[in-house]
Structure formats: structure tokens, C-alpha cells
């Protein structure tokens, strides 16, 4: 699995409330509609400017805060191809994988990536290439790759159960 995309760069502790505004939690449930509000309070230019396959690069503890699954779902439906961060909150990590949104954890890469540049990620080889050079990361566990390649936990289950 490889990905090439433009970078949207953010800082540390990007919490689920700014990824998907809490005020919409109980009012918007359509994923396409949710995507239109992704990162609205942090970066109003994001939702209208993001293209399919773009990559979010952030600092520590991305996805901290509530356990709401919408935070992962809205980024997925906004077309985000992957999130690269120094670390992720555990619940967001789980929700993102279940939604079919790949995550890369790298302590060094984020500080070396500029907003707007185009980077490539090779998931199997664990390589991220940006203007500053090549960074390696431990490839995601096989089981997690299986879920991601199916497009998320639900399609993966259908495969597992042989109903698709």
C-alpha cells in the first residue's frame, strides 16, 4: 500500500472536539456531511481545500479527548489518506483503524515536514519520503494492515464472514 499526498500540518494535542466539533455530535450523522465540518474550529480552510489522498501531519497525542468515532470517520470521508503524528491517543488509533484510516507514528518525521509539501508513504516498507529526506517507521502489524486494506473493520468482517 502506497500513498502520495499534500500535507496539512498541525501541532500537538489535536483533540477529537476540534477534529469533529462537539456541537454537531448529536445533530449530524451522515458521514459526507460530517466531512464538511472536519477540523472546522482549528483550520476553516481544511474542509473546502482538502483533496483525496491528502495527508495530515501533527505532533504528539493526536486524537486525544472523547472516544467519539466521528473524529476518525469525518477525516476518512473528507478524503484524508493517512495521518502522520508523533503519537496517537489509543482510542483514536482504534477508531481510525476501524474506519479504514491509516496512521503512521513517527517521532522525527513531523518536525521535518512543511505544510503543503507532497510526501509519499510506503506502508509495507515503513518508509516516508519528504523534501528533507527519508524517514522510516515500524510497519503496522499485519492484522491492522488487513483491516486497512479491506477499507475498515466492517468490510473486513464481511470478508471474514464470507458474506462478500
Amino acid at each position: 500500500m502506497k500513498l502520495k499526498g499534500k500535507v496539512w500540518k498541525y501541532g500537538d494535542d489535536i483533540n477529537t472536539d476540534v477534529i469533529f466539533p462537539g456541537k454537531y455530535t448529536y445533530t449530524i450523522s451522515d458521514p459526507e456531511e460530517m466531512a464538511k465540518h472536519s477540523l472546522e474550529d482549528l483550520d476553516p480552510a481544511f474542509a473546502s481545500g482538502v483533496s483525496k489522498g491528502d495527508i495530515i501531519v501533527a505532533g504528539k497525542n493526536f486524537g486525544c479527548g472523547s472516544s467519539r468515532e466521528q473524529a476518525a470517520t469525518c477525516l476518512k470521508y473528507a478524503g484524508v489518506g493517512a495521518v502522520v503524528a508523533k503519537s496517537f491517543s489509543r482510542i483514536f488509533f482504534r477508531n481510525a483503524i476501524n474506519a479504514g484510516l491509516p496512521l503512521i507514528q513517527s517521532a522525527d518525521a513531523p518536525d521535518n515536514i512543511k505544510p503543503g509539501e507532497v510526501i509519499t508513504i510506503d506502508f509495507e516498507k515503513g518508509k516516508l519520503t519528504c523534501e528533507q529526506g527519508v524517514f522510516t517507521f515500524p510497519p503496522l502489524p499485519e492484522e491492522v494492515m488487513g483491516i486497512l486494506q479491506s477499507g475498515g473493520l466492517i468490510p473486513y468482517t464481511r470478508k471474514l464472514l464470507g458474506t462478500e
Binding site: 502489524p141 468482517t157 471474514l160
Partner: protein, 416 residues
Amino acid sequence: MGKTIVEKIIARHCREEVTPGKVVWVDIDLRTARDFGGANVVENFRRNYPEDRVADAAKTFFTFDCVVPANNIPYANNQQICRDFAQQQGIKVSDVDQGIGSHILIDKGLCLPGYIAVGTDSHLNLLGALGALGQGMGDVDIAFAFRTGKTWFEVPETIKVVVKGKLFPPLSPKDLTLAILKRLGSKGALGKSIEFYGEAMDSLGLDGRITLASMVTEMGGIAGFITPNQEVLDYCRARSGREKIEAVVADPDAHYCQTIEIDIAGLKPQISLPYQPSKVVDVEEAKGERVNSIFLGSCTNGRWEDFKVVASILKGRRVYEGVMFKAVPSTREVYGRLLKEGLSEALFDAGVILTSSGCGGCASGQVGMTGEGEVQLSTGNRNFKGKQGAGRTFLVSPATAAVSALNGKITSPDKV
């Protein structure tokens, strides 16, 4: 190399080599959904697996505990959606009269040492009190678990916490828990499992173990385990009707990513200041602040032992005039025992508002919500802004709640 408790539990459920960091598929013994989240689980299930049956109805449960009985239409609807689905699928419902789901799993003998349980409750990891692995998860995850009986799980590293010293009255398991939370902080165990050891642990009863294990979430941890003692094993035996109950015990050469020693000699009663559970100080440092209301209950401190302590302090006395003392037993069983053993009378005479069981205000439920400017002492586990209403919530032990209720202001139980 030897294995920690969480590694052993996971290994028994996935039949492959288990090491920290590895993601494995595990078979789940129990999967639950409560009235918060339950309807979404049903919707997820119906959308993604239409016409399908759950993997095993006998291992699947709805446990209503958040707003019980429902006092608004959305909750009433959600509970009914779950009941209808349960009936179609042959799933048991622990309904609005029964109490907190995680406690039901323990008290009905459904969860046993070494089991894995998942549900929509972020404090399901309190099953660590039995040496079982409980995990709160999102709706998609739980719908998946209902359908397949499995989940994927990343094996966590384990921190060993060794507590030196003993607990003496009026110190309670809650004071010990808050002292550990103070030391670890809100991110101290982020993504990790904890094992608790030491003399104070060995002598903790089941209710005290539940108090400690329930607040590992506030330490950032995945789950915390206390190796079952004879009392816990006997309880599980009696409740499940099974003769053979075995504890999962860590190997002597198990690998821990960190070992933390905490000496509780000289420990004073503890209190969490608004709005962070980990913002813990001695009760003495907060003493004198006027108290408007008390909330006794929650999955952390809503059990028999908690009510017994409070009743012994309030018996023959009267709560300070103007203080609302709201008491919500964790389960119907605790509620019944209070009625039948006369404690409810002592509480009533002292001015306590005693209601039927559930999570109460700790889950923004019926009893225990605060208004702006209201100061509340809660025996619950979270005091985030807005969590239990608009007021300022302090977290305390049942004993601190009771003596403060009598004085109308925050009071340390070792000073009365």
C-alpha cells in the same frame, strides 16, 4: 521470558504467542452495551449485518444503567430499541431496575478471573478487580463484537505498582486510589496495563478492589489488575456456581516497562479538586469550603461497603441543613440490602435522598446533577467540567462525603 497478567489473559484468548505491541484477534467471553451507546450498537449491527444473528446470545448482554428508568424520550426510545433487538436475538437485558452493568457482570457470576469482556462503558476495566480484562469501546467495535465474538487488540506493556504500608481507618480504598492517581497523573499509564501489589492490596476486599480498578481509566491506563485473593475467588465461586475458579497470576520473571513504589505511611484522606481527577490533595488543604450537595454512588463507590461506612457515620445524626445528600446504590442488590438490613432507615432519618440503583449523575443520569455555582462532593471517578452538571465537583471517599455532609463544609474524616 515470563508473562504479565494481561499478556496471559490475552494469550488464552488468541492461541498465539503474545508480546507487547503485537496486535492479535481475541475471542471475547462477554460483550455488553448499555443504554448510552446501545441503540447505536443496534443501528450499526442492523446496517452492517442485516438479517444476521449475534455470534452467541448467551454471551451478549444489554445493561441499562445511565438514565434509569428513562426520564426523557430519547433515552426511553434508545432503551426500547435495545429491548426489541434483544428479543429478536434472544439476548438478555439487565433492565432499568438492575443497576450498573459492570457490577452486574461481577455479582451475577458472569465475569470470572481471566475473562475478557468488552462494552460501551469506559469503566468496564474495573473488572480488573477480579483479575479479568474489561475494555470500553466504540459502537462500531461493539457491534462487531456482537456479530463475531471477536475483537482486535494491541497487547499493552505493563507497569508494576507496589504499594508499601497498610490502610488504617478512616482511610479507605478511595484514598489509596486517589493517592496512586496523584502519583501517576492522568497520562501516567497511557495505553498501558497496571498490576497492583503490596500488603495494602492483599487485604483489600472486593469492593475496595473495584474502587481502585475503576479509576485506572483516569490514570490513562487500559486496565489495572489486582491478583484475586481467597475472598475474591470464593465470591466468584459462590456467584457463578462453579467449583473451579482460578486466578491468572503473573510469572515471577514477567517483564514490566516500569516499576513504581508508593509508600502510604502517613497518608491522609485525599480529595480531587475540580476539574481533574488527578488534581489530588489532602482533604485538609481544601477544608472549610461550603458544600451544597453530596453524591454517594457510581461504579467506583456505590457498593455495600461504601454505604455501610456512610450509614455508620450518619446514624442518629442529621445532614447539615440545606445540604442535598443524594445516594444511588450501584445495584438493586445493594439497594435491597440497604432496605432489608435497616441502613436505609438510618440514611433516611439523617436526611439522605436514597433512590433506586444505577450510575446516577456520574453518567449525567437522573440523580446527582449540579447547577452553576453548586459545590458537590462526589464519590464518583470523574470531575471534568460539565461532567456532572454545571457546578464544581470534588472527588472524595464515602467517609469524607459523610463527615462533610454533617458539617456542611469540606471536612477530613480524621479530624472528627
